[in-house]
Symmetry: C2
Subunit: 448 residues, 2 copies
Amino acid sequence: MTALTLDENTAARIAQAVDDGFDAQIGFLRDFVAIPSLRFQEGPAQDFVADALRARGYSVDDWTIRLADLESLPGFGPIMGDFSRARSVVGTHHPVEVKGRSLILQGHLDVVPEGPTEMWTHPPFDPVIEDGWMYGRGAGDMKAGTVAAIFALDALARAGVEPAARVHVQSVIEEESTGLGALSTLQRGYRADAAVLPEPSDFTINRAQVGALWFRLRLRGRPVHVAVAGEGSNAILAAHDVIRALQGLEADWNARATQHPVYGDVAHPLNFNAGKISGGDWASSVPAWCDVDCRMGVLPGQDLAEARAEIEACVAAASRDHPFLSNTPPQVIWNGFQAEGYVLGADADPALGVMQSAYARTFETDAPLQERKMTALTDTRFYGLYYGIPAFCIGPRAENIHGFDERVDLQSVRDLTRMLAFFIAEWCGLNPRNQRDAGDGCGVHRLG
Amino acid sequence: MTALTLDENTAARIAQAVDDGFDAQIGFLRDFVAIPSLRFQEGPAQDFVADALRARGYSVDDWTIRLADLESLPGFGPIMGDFSRARSVVGTHHPVEVKGRSLILQGHLDVVPEGPTEMWTHPPFDPVIEDGWMYGRGAGDMKAGTVAAIFALDALARAGVEPAARVHVQSVIEEESTGLGALSTLQRGYRADAAVLPEPSDFTINRAQVGALWFRLRLRGRPVHVAVAGEGSNAILAAHDVIRALQGLEADWNARATQHPVYGDVAHPLNFNAGKISGGDWASSVPAWCDVDCRMGVLPGQDLAEARAEIEACVAAASRDHPFLSNTPPQVIWNGFQAEGYVLGADADPALGVMQSAYARTFETDAPLQERKMTALTDTRFYGLYYGIPAFCIGPRAENIHGFDERVDLQSVRDLTRMLAFFIAEWCGLNPRNQRDAGDGCGVHRLG
């Protein structure tokens, strides 16, 4: 399927409208990044997005996620923590006349922890712009992308047009831990002919992504006074022995991966990570407990139940002859991502074709969009694997995501905004803004 | 020096008085153990002791410890945490007529953390008595000992006598981490001819004790998204490499210890312990930081400055060729015990002789008191090393101190109370209670 016609004149007006709104867009992004939307604390950031969508006249759906609604759905991952205030926000544009294809634009606003703030050059939640980059936790992953989507729609309006198809701007949480935010929008019934997630990709297409399993190793043992340390067993040291065993499993799986049809040519696609540790209570007590939060990658097509069984068997084997662990083997608690890998199917080709056109127009290039095989994962899997909605990521240039001094290149944000505006125009088609009845408050899109 | 005379008749009355007060003593101990006097939270427990001492008519000194008063004193260890509400409590008995030798009875009420409560058979701060044992964090280490000292004095009063010398009942904090509570009583000027600390020892004498150094290993590095784990460096794994190096140093020091005049015959007297770990923020981020709280034993006579230099050199050597640590070597932060070892000198012989007599009378035995060389440490070092006050520990039978289901044998508590009462009588001498002017409210000791 080819793009709907976007004439040069309209395209020029759209491009100009992006530029005209860009200062406001950067201010909006700065305010958004300044909200520390860490896990289980996303409320104020969702308020910020919902207010912005309401101010533009979209129909806003803002609901509290109920775990009971999601538990039986494919892709569900268990939650450890207080999920009672978890919300999703969707702003919907309803077209006056349908000419094109409907679209989901999804951004997640949950951010990973900032770590020790003394490791940051600038404070993580007080964004600074320097040499064309905006610094801040979440600036790249992925508040800049979400804001680009909102401002791309604004630019269309400013250019006197609006999408001629249904568009859902979806603001979700939990992308970094379970994906339940995206899953909740699908459970709620949001569907479209394509879903674009402007994750930071430096304008590459997320062609394939691994899956991931999260689990906590929970070690418990017998503590003693350090005076008789030899009699006790050190849970912190025992945890390390289990980590080493899991590194062995990681090596096994990567060896197997060399035979994978998609990932066979990717070096070390599967990463095991012992990402967080907490153990013991006192320097002078032999530690009796240790918890390690782990992440293990899985290949597209790898069965998750089998993968979990292999991990549990690996932990059991490491414990069998271990002085500490043999009596009290560690628990493996599945406490987050239970995510399958995902490979973009041919059903995405029409949307990719339109994105190619928008890319060519934005960068005035004939070069094809680059595709990449990710060793991480995104929410696209829910759309693509379980709901038949072609979904992919394309987004700005960012650095140090999940690290200190995370930053996003503001020129790439401007380019992305323009590209998304072109994509929306060609995918959804355009209606003139003046077609809308001025008295129809509900449907009028005001400019932010 | 021999014991002052304690006639059989008075001894029998004292023994009976201990028994008469024992139910109340156990109730008092239970209430005391129920107060979770964890570090930096000792206030309510100090209130409890101060109230009990006031109720008995002792002069009570209850003061807030100022770090500035202590920093230049020998044995000082640095504090990490809020020390602004740290207090010491001393209750003093002033004799009407001095016949014997003055005495410090010191107990610490700080307790080590209880760890995961699900590992306890009974709740750690809701003491249960079962089969003659009282269970609870701090029951053995060392609230039972402190309570025995208070109730030994009560028993004397109930028997119609009181010490014929100055006695200080000293309730201190920080024994488990720096010893600053004991140090503060010495800075405040409390002195005596001997100091007895009824730490749980199953009626052995603390003949010699090691010293200890506390330090935090602080690792900081460059975090990355797990998608590119190979580019980052895992601070949790790097911490383990440093721990292994310090275990090597521990082995070296223990090899040297075989030549030590006192500890040469003790197997593995020096324990290194990695007791608490905290690192990373997110399962899917390669951890950029890790803190490990460590304890290393030192021998009596081992120079602490040299010991610290050896530890720092060991950490530096482990970092030199390390992929993660070579760029950012760990910090070694001295954050607690800077404690020399201590060997009981001949100046303690008179007090030990009197304790031998009290022991013989309590257990109706001719057996000598057993002495032990400790691989842990107590506050005795401050008295003995820096203030010329002979100091030793002797106390009840306890199990699982610093562990789950810590417990103290209540029969041993009864025996200890009787033994301490005999010791006080023979060390301090006795005055009849009726010698005291009934109108002298300040000096009258009421029974608790």
